[in-house]
Symmetry: C2
DNA sequence: TCGATATATTTGCAAATGCAAATATATCAC
DNA sequence: GTGATATATTTGCATTTGCAAATATATCGA
């Protein structure tokens, strides 16, 4: 077995952590964080998601999400609404302030995409993304049984 | 722009976080953590590294590393030694208990490598690893100026 | 040798995280 | 309808994290 730098988990986690940290720094001046961006991006895709759905699509733990949304509500980025169909459910809607912030975050996200993938052509990019999705799914086989995720 | 799941930072960070968490769970029964494994793997590659070097090769912040090493010393996995050449420097050496643990962790690491890369052939695997290294380096271009890393 | 500056590590502290327990509501069996 | 069980969210709490300040040692220049 080779050095640490040849292990996939290391390479993957290292790259993932770095891009996350770096992105976080980039959006801080706008009063945002990586997690806020994820929630906004998820809601942009489909507004009015419930906490549980958001947790799944953003990969943010529900308990963390609760507190994150607390903060986002205070900033008027989103609004919680009780689902009238099922009062256990809370659905989240983007507020005007949230849409405004999303518009400002999008170019940053695009820039990150571009810089991170510098030197990758379209095919390589798609291959990489496909590999990352595949890998994520492969990990199902290792997840502890009781808390498998979507 | 597409949904969250088409953004590279998201895909990357998600996969990286998942493999890290999962690996962490797998080694917990042995009293280890992902970070402990990283330090041991780094020392296995080269024993007697200084804190700063270890921080760089493992991507663990030095302050975190200090506390991590505190714990590892208590478990007799490693031993700190003051460098006689330069008393500012602390070098870390694996202890017998640490070697023993490393031997038990190696097969787990190999298994993770295998399962995560299920369905990837040798070429695809190398492509992915190369892409992750390249990506990591690309991020240099976005890092905030004052704290660039090796 | 003394002071100034540089480098290496540790400590202080506050924020983020995630598990488990608590709470709230729903649904099912009877 | 009532109690038991299931589902959704929040809260409690302990751990992890990383930045910034503090400490320790080294080196350089006068």
């Amino acid at each position: 077995m080779g050095p640490l730098g040849s292990y996939l988990p290391y390479l993957l986690n290292r790259a993932g952590a770095r891009i996350a940290t770096s992105f976080g720094e980039a959006v801080r001046p706008l009063g945002a964080t990586l997690q806020i961006w994820r929630v906004l991006a998820a809601l942009r895709e489909r507004d009015g998601q419930r906490m549980g759905d958001l947790s799944a699509t953003t990969s943010i733990d529900v308990s963390t999400l609760t507190r994150l949304v607390d903060g986002m509500e205070k900033k008027a980025l989103v609004a919680r609404r009780r689902d009238p169909e099922d009062a256990r459910v809370v659905v989240l809607h983007v507020a005007p302030e949230g849409r405004r912030l999303t518009r400002r975050l999008l170019p940053i996200a695009e820039r990150y995409e571009k810089v991170a993938l510098q030197g990758f052509n379209a095919e390589e990019t798609e291959q990489l993304k496909a590999a990352l999705r595949r890998l994520y799914v492969n990990m199902d086989g290792l997840e502890s049984p009781h808390k498998a995720r979507g």
